[in-house]
Structures are given as C-alpha cells and as structure tokens.
C-alpha cells in the first residue's frame, strides 16, 4: 500500500507529472480515435455511394434491355 502511495506521489511532484502524462494521453488518444472514426464514417459513405451507383447502373441496364 505504501509503495503505491509513494509511486503516485512522484516524490512530491505528482501535481506536475500526472497531468503531463494525462494531457499527452488525452491529446494523442483523442487524435487517434478521431482519425479512425473519420476514416470509418467516410468508408461507410463511400460504400453507400458505390452501392447506389451499382443499383442505378443495373436499373438502367434493366430498362435498356426492357426496351430492346
């Protein structure tokens, strides 16, 4: 118990050391998460768009064959 407390105390510098690491983790973690989220969201949009194009093409082909 005592060793954990001394660890967290960081020789009296706890108020400086921990915020430094937390800020680093938050900023970098946030950038990482946001970048991945943006990629996933845009990939979904791209898939939807490509699917819509495929549907439109097959419909157009269907009407052309119908008229032929």
């Amino acid at each position: 118990m005592d060793t954990i407390r001394t660890f967290f105390d960081m020789g009296g510098y706890a108020a400086f050391v921990w915020p430094a690491f937390v800020v680093t983790a938050v900023l970098m973690g946030g950038l990482f998460a946001w970048s991945r989220h943006a990629l996933r969201a845009d990939r979904r949009t791209l898939d939807l768009l490509q699917q819509a194009r495929r549907d439109m093409r097959s419909r157009a082909r269907g009407t052309a064959e119908g008229e032929a």
């Binding site: 020789g11 400086f16 430094a20 950038l31």
Partner: protein, 250 residues
Amino acid sequence: MPTMHRFANPARFVRISSALLPWLTVAMVGFFGAGLYFGLFNSPPDYQQGDSVRIMYVHVPAATLASGVYVVMAVASAVALIWRHPLADVAAKSSAPIGAVFTLIALVTGALWGQPTWGTWWVWDARLTSVLIMLFLYLGYMGLWQAFDDERRAARAAAILALVGAVNLPIIRFSVDWWNTLHQPASIIRADGPTIHPDLLMPLGLMWGGFLCFFAVVLIVRMHREIVLRRIQALQTLQFETAAAVPQEA
C-alpha cells in the same frame, strides 16, 4: 478518364500500408507499454530534479518529433510541387494535425516541467519559444487547407506555405536563439537538464519509438481517409455530371 491517373498509385499504397498497419500498431503499443513501465516504475529519479524528470519521457519525444513531422511535411510538399505526385500532398495534409498535437504536448508538458524545475510555468527560452512559433506555423498551414473550396488549389497553396515556412524556420530559430542570449545572458537553460543519466536513456528511447510508431499509424489512417474522401468527391462529381447529361424522365 482523368481520375484514373490519380488513383492508380493510391491503390498500391493503400494495400501496402493496410498490411503494415497492424504491425505498426502492435509496435506502438509495445514501445509505449515498455517505455511507460521503465519510465514511471523502473528508472531512478534524477538527483537534482527528482521525479519531475519523468515528464521528460513525454516532453522530449514530443518536442523533437514536432520538428521532425514538420520536416516530413515540408519534404512531402516539395515532392507535391515539383513532381506532382498525387499522394504527396495527401501525406503533407495528414501529417499536420499530428505535428500540431506533438507541438501542443511539448508546450504543455514543458510548462509542467518548468514550474517545479525553474519555478515558472512559462519561460521564454529559445527552445520553447521556437516550439510556440512552430505551433502557429502548423495552425496556419491547417487553416490554409480549409480556406479553399477547390482541393487542388488548397494542396498547392499549402505546399508553398509549408516550404516557405520550412525555409524560414532555421532563420526563426536562429533569431530566437540570438534574442534569447541577448536577454538572458546569465543562465543557459537546457530543457533536458545538464546531462541525461544513461539509466534514463532507455525509457526515453522506448517512448521515442512509441511516438514515432504513433506518427506512422495515425499518418496511414489519415491518408486512407483522405483517399476515401477524394473517391467520394470524384463519385459525387461523376453522379452530378451523369445526372446533368441524362434527360430527366417525365
């Protein structure tokens, strides 16, 4: 089709980088895990600065890589301007937020290190001042990308700005160094302390590796996203053009 040329290369890049991505992520986690273990648990406090020296394990990699990323950005911008490689400006655009985050971390952790070490939250020493200016350069670069509606124009304007900034950065650093010695002739404050004890080098190296892998991982993710975005824009332009060409059904 003009769009074919733009995407011929990216497909190969996406394939190779997607294969590398999981390994880089594992490496990143490994470096950070080991670095944090040794940095926080298994290394001695500095005999002068005590445990506050542990802040160095995030501050130094962030500060050095902040400049490193700018170099990457400048080189990519040069490639974009000179050889018009389609991926070069994507790489530059994707690097900027990472560099900006590293710069911000360097500034904040620098302040948190400065207060117990020198008794002040901020000190206008040459290094911190140059890092602050570099943050403004990053923000300006990112702002320029957003300012243009035309993505291609934005890419070239940003490339010019990155190169102008890169050329000016040594001049700025030199003048800030000069200014600093003019106004603080007494003490020469080195942000990493007088000497780095060899016991501290290993955690520092591990954290450095972690930051570097982080840059690679996030860069790849962001570049993939840019490529996807451009495909979306191309598709939307195509749909708009075909809709305009096809006569409306009654």
